[in-house]
């Protein structure tokens, strides 16, 4: 399994990269960490004419707090997220999710920007940034634009990025006091892609949800914010209510059937995750089991 031949250019800056992309359009591919691109090329699933290596662009590095925004550069590696004091403090959901992403050797190369731009529906980080209400910063020939995470992920391997644009950073509102997060996925083996997963962020005051953003992954064509969960906001959560809302959350999903799981299996697992998420966040373990 050897990749087909391609030309290679190492971009020196964002503008440099954009010029190369503009010239070649969808016959070029951006090389960031390469952990998703390389397998596809080795298997000859894709055969780009030009690889634009952005790995050396310093503008895309760095994790910076600016006011109440945490800005993470696109080239931030998974392992950097794991080690970052800023992310531990201001976006702990990301740090927790990283432990589920593949394996150490992959995490040493894979990047946040790469993961988001690739938009695998079973990936962890797109769901996390959506749960955190992130803004994706994009550069194109026409300048910079900001896309809300909820608008960024559009389908299987499809995002709001055009072939001539570059994802340069992700901006997150800094976690405030009262902020809770939950992350879990069901996978057959450590590091495997999830069969069903949930990344959630919430604001909780005195055992009551002030905000709840549960985002499912691996159960649809993109990370999915469960809006039906809004019914748990500003109310006392009873087992009966949770069961109803969990049902509504599951009904809103349209999961795929594949080798790993049927649609109904995925829907079921999503509901299990949702109940366990609520139980964990509210510190009420008895809520975890559904009513029969």
């Amino acid at each position: 399994m050897k990749a087909a031949a391609f030309a290679y250019a190492r971009a020196k800056s964002v503008d440099d990269a954009l010029q190369l992309l503009a010239a070649h359009g969808d016959r070029a591919k951006v090389l960031s960490g390469g952990q998703s691109l390389m397998p596809a090329m080795n298997l000859r699933l894709i055969s780009p004419e030009l690889i634009v290596d952005i790995g050396g662009i310093s503008e895309l590095q760095g994790i910076v707090v600016q006011g109440d925004i945490l800005s993470i550069g696109a080239l931030t590696r998974h392992v950097d997220i794991q080690r970052s004091a800023e992310i531990a403090a201001y976006a702990p959901l990301l740090a927790e999710a990283i432990a589920y992403v593949a394996h150490p050797a992959i995490r040493n190369r894979g990047t946040l920007g790469g993961s988001l731009a690739h938009a695998d529906p079973a990936a962890e980080l797109p769901a996390c940034v959506l749960a955190l209400d992130a803004t994706i910063v994009v550069h194109g020939a026409g300048g910079q634009r900001r896309v809300a995470a909820v608008d960024f992920f559009q389908g299987i391997f499809q995002t709001a990025l055009s072939a001539e644009e570059l994802l340069v950073a992700v901006e997150l509102p800094i976690a405030r006091k009262g902020g809770f997060h939950y992350f879990h996925e069901f996978a057959r083996r450590h590091g495997d892609y999830a069969i069903a997963g949930l990344a959630a962020h919430a604001d909780i005051k005195a055992g009551v949800f002030a905000e709840l953003r549960p985002v499912f992954f691996a159960v649809g064509d993109r990370p999915l914010l469960a809006r039906a969960a809004d019914r748990l906001i500003n109310v006392a959560v009873t087992p009966k209510l949770l069961s109803e809302v969990s049902g509504a959350v599951g009904d809103a999903l349209n999961p795929q059937d594949d080798q790993q799981a049927s649609a109904s299996m995925r829907r079921h697992l999503a509901q299990v995750l949702f109940r366990r998420c609520v139980a964990t966040m509210l510190d009420r373990p008895e809520l975890a089991r559904g009513t029969a």
Partner: protein
């Protein structure tokens, strides 16, 4: 009073001082593997070596209408593009049948398909280029016109009239059928208080050796000699077959096996693409290298264990098993594999069902049908996992039906430890097994009663753990009964040649082969022990048909039992020869001398008399100083073949302790135990590690592994992300114990142990899952036990 029992030669090799037999010693020569300085086939580079890539059929069944290689031939670096037709001039086709598999039929198979591709992945053309990448580029430029044909992809309907017959000349898709009838089965079921039936379904597996199959074939036209570098378990078999089909004499073929990155039976077979590689080297008169990539491996390495087996058990209220019956169906590929045939696995299933038990009433039918899927053949523990899962699954079902504990029903029905020798209803001759002693040891090791208490406690908290037990027998040390009687040129004997070198070290050539199980070590341990030299002074040469005696190689757990015995006998002769010379030099008699730690010593007080180094110097360089007439012989060769028993059976029992999350269907393996009786153990650590590795393959079968074909005969999960192999995160620790019942057929008394772990692990896990789920009234007889399967059975979806 004396002394006969004190004489060194009267002591068995197992009792000699400083014997390595029964000792855990580190394997020699591991450094090169740990430093990345091994020599696997894919590491080999020869001058002018070219690389071959095979263009493979994307269809399960298709006529090859036309191949246009014009553009491909013009691509950079391309040496040749060769079709099946062209290669047929160099290498003849083969048929995978053996005469003792009565009725087995199969069609001729070519190295590269001619006219018709019969499975998705079968090679239809060869691209040879100066690099693999360039050959793959050229493969994209070949244009092949196919006419798709209807594919046979469901074994259940393979024999139905509307289903197309894959090979018209054979008449139907039935490769092989065997029936067996012992005792009075119908009467038995009539007499039984309870009769339970179930259909056992097994996922199709593949070996997934980490090093893919690889060959470097080097035809030297000037010497008219072919050297094949290949990780084969049976180099002499490869030599024979390559010569036969290339029109050469065997002495014109040399097969060299250096380091092998895993085999487990995958690399003991003859593959079309490897035969094509030999032929291409001859055709192109230069070395040709073939290294399968991972996708190719999934599509073309032999698959195994694709069975649907209906099982039936009759039991009385007091727990006596009265009868077993099975009807097994297995769907292989379009060809029976060469030369070991794809009927052996089903044949083993018939032989082994019910094996550990007293039950005399046994009826079986096994049918092997052709399909348009990848070929299937022997993979570690051949047939044993199927037979064990069916047998042990039925026994647990019977126990459940009459409300008896699974241990208790086994106690009542396992063959008594003093009942040997005896013969099974399927005609297997057992020399000496230890089912009860093994079971008792297992129960003590796992603290069975405590686990049951824990299980009951946790059930109250809605936590569902289960314990599963599986007894099994294993075929080892096969005689010619396995293959030779059917006409296969597969040797069932092995040979060892040992000699003293000029420095008094020992050079040992053996016909068994090494794939990591420790063949080199066990040989050195035996030679060192029998001769009386430190292992560090023993060099073992294996895996080279030019430089070892003729033999079968390592498969079917025969290396230690057969190759080890040959090493023992050869070394005994060398020892005697050395002592004859030493006696002459020292003016003593051989019975007054012994060898210890590389020195000839007095046998009565151990006083050193002459170092082997010095003795060698005299023999090789100063024979003029020897007494007149002496012709020293410091080399000895012995072969060994089992004659008395067609197979040396071993036995064992396994247990699995696991937890099922009934909300999600996920299974967590908590612990696993094995008690194994494999006779004399040469190196306890190596045996235990073989068992552990085998168990984990069985755990993979139980929970994870399955080749998934779609309705068009496409293998849909041909990569390591989608075909799930066991990784470290999900595997339990495995505790191992032993009972020792040596075989008296050989002096060493060793039986085999390589496949025991795989034989029973999946059965133990399946029984444990069903045990965990028993409060729900659910029994699952299908593996792999994925969360989807479990949750579906629980009705949770």
């Amino acid at each position: 009073m004396t002394a006969a029992s004190d004489k060194p030669e009267a002591l068995s090799v197992l009792d000699r001082p400083n014997s390595y037999i029964g000792k855990t010693v580190p394997r020699p020569n591991l450094d090169r593997l740990m430093q990345g300085r091994g020599q696997y086939v894919s590491d080999i580079e020869l001058p002018r070596m070219a690389h071959v890539v095979f263009l493979r059929s994307p269809h399960a069944h298709a006529r090859i209408v036309k191949i246009d290689a014009t553009a491909a031939k013009a691509m950079p670096g391309v040496v040749a593009v060769v079709t099946g037709q062209e290669l047929a001039a160099v290498i003849t086709p083969w048929v995978g049948v053996l005469s003792h598999m009565k009725g087995l039929k199969s069609a001729p198979q070519h190295a590269i398909a001619i006219d018709r591709a019969c499975w998705q992945g079968e090679a239809v053309a060869a691209l040879v280029a100066t690099s693999r990448a360039l050959a793959e580029d050229a493969a994209e430029a070949i244009v092949v016109e196919y006419e798709e044909l209807e594919a046979v992809i469901d074994m259940r309907t393979a024999l139905d009239p509307p289903t197309p017959v894959i090979h018209a000349a054979l008449g139907d898709n039935l490769a092989f059928e065997r029936t067996h009838n012992a005792g009075a089965v119908d009467q038995g079921f009539a007499d039984a208080d309870e009769v339970v039936e179930a259909e056992f379904i097994f996922g199709r597996h593949t070996g997934v050796t980490l090093e893919p199959r690889a060959v470097v074939a080097d035809w030297n036209a000037a010497e008219a000699r072919l050297t094949i570098y290949q990780g084969s378990q049976a180099p002499h078999m490869v030599q024979n077959i390559a010569a036969l089909h290339l029109g050469l004499e065997e002495r014109q073929v040399r097969v060299v096996c250096k380091d092998v990155g895993g085999s487990f039976g995958i690399k003991v077979h003859i593959y079309a693409d490897e035969m094509a590689t030999y032929a291409l080297s001859k055709l192109l008169r230069r070395p040709v290298k073939f290294v399968a990539d991972r996708v190719e491996s999934f599509n073309t390495d032999i698959h195994a264990r694709d069975h649907r087996c209906k099982g039936k058990i009759g039991v009385t209220r007091d727990g006596t098993i009265i009868a077993f019956e099975i009807d097994d169906l297995t769907g292989i590929g379009p060809y029976s594999m060469y030369p070991r045939t794809s009927a052996i696995e089903a044949n083993q299933v018939v032989n082994l069902v019910g094996g550990p038990y007293l039950t005399k009433n046994y009826r079986a039918r096994a049918r092997v049908v052709f399909q348009n899927k990848n070929v299937m053949c022997q993979y570690r523990a051949v047939g044993h996992p199927i037979a064990c899962s069916v047998t042990e699954g039925l026994v647990d079902l019977a126990a459940m039906k009459i409300g008896m504990d699974p241990v208790e029903i086994r106690r009542r029905n396992l063959i008594a430890d003093d009942a040997y020798p005896c013969v099974s209803p399927s005609g297997l001759r057992f020399e000496k097994l230890s089912h009860h002693a093994s079971l008792n040891k297992l129960l003590a090791m796992m603290d069975y009663d405590r686990l049951r208490v824990e299980q009951a406690e946790l059930r109250k908290r809605n936590i569902h753990r289960g314990v599963g037990i599986a007894s099994f027998i294993e075929v080892t040390n096969p005689s010619a009964a396995f293959y030779g009687v059917g006409g296969a040129k597969i040797s069932s004997q092995d040979g060892v040649a040992v000699r003293l070198d000029a420095q008094g070290a020992v050079i040992c050539q053996t016909s068994i082969t090494e794939q990591g199980q420790g063949s080199e070590s066990l040989t050195a341990q035996i030679v060192g022990s029998v001769l009386g030299v430190p292992m560090s002074r023993v060099r073992v040469i294996l895996g080279d048909t030019d430089n070892t005696p003729y033999g079968g190689g390592t498969w079917a757990s025969r290396g230690a039992g057969i190759g080890g015995e040959a090493a023992l006998q050869a070394t005994k002769i060398l020892r005697r020869n050395i002592l004859d010379v030493a006696a002459a030099i020292l003016q003593s008699t051989p019975s007054e001398l012994d060898i210890a730690d590389g020195i000839v010593v007095s046998s009565n007080d151990g006083a050193p008399r002459i170092e082997l180094k010095e003795l060698a110097r005299i023999v090789y360089f100063r024979p003029d100083t020897l007494p007149p007439g002496i012709q020293p012989e410091l080399m000895a060769t012995k072969h060994y073949v089992p004659r008395e028993y067609p197979f040396a059976f071993t036995n064992g029992v396994q247990a699995s302790w696991l937890e099922v999350d009934t909300e999600t269907g996920f299974v967590k393996l908590l612990k696993h135990w094995v008690v194994e009786d494999c006779g004399t153990i040469i190196n306890p650590q190596l045996v235990d590690e073989q068992i552990r590795g085998g168990v984990v393959q069985g755990l993979g079968a139980a929970l994870f592994e399955k080749c998934i074909y779609d309705e068009r005969g496409q293998l849909t999960n041909a990569n390591m992300a989608d075909y799930l192999v066991p990784m470290s995160g999900e595997m339990p620790d495995i505790d191992i114990g032993h009972v020792v019942s040596p075989t008296t057929e050989s002096e060493l008394g060793a039986k085999g142990a390589g496949e025991a772990g795989t034989a029973g692990a999946a059965a133990a896990v399946a029984n444990a899952v069903n045990d965990a789920l028993s409060p729900f009234g659910v029994t699952i007889t299908e593996i792999p036990l994925t969360p989807q399967v479990i949750l579906t059975a629980l009705g949770g979806l």
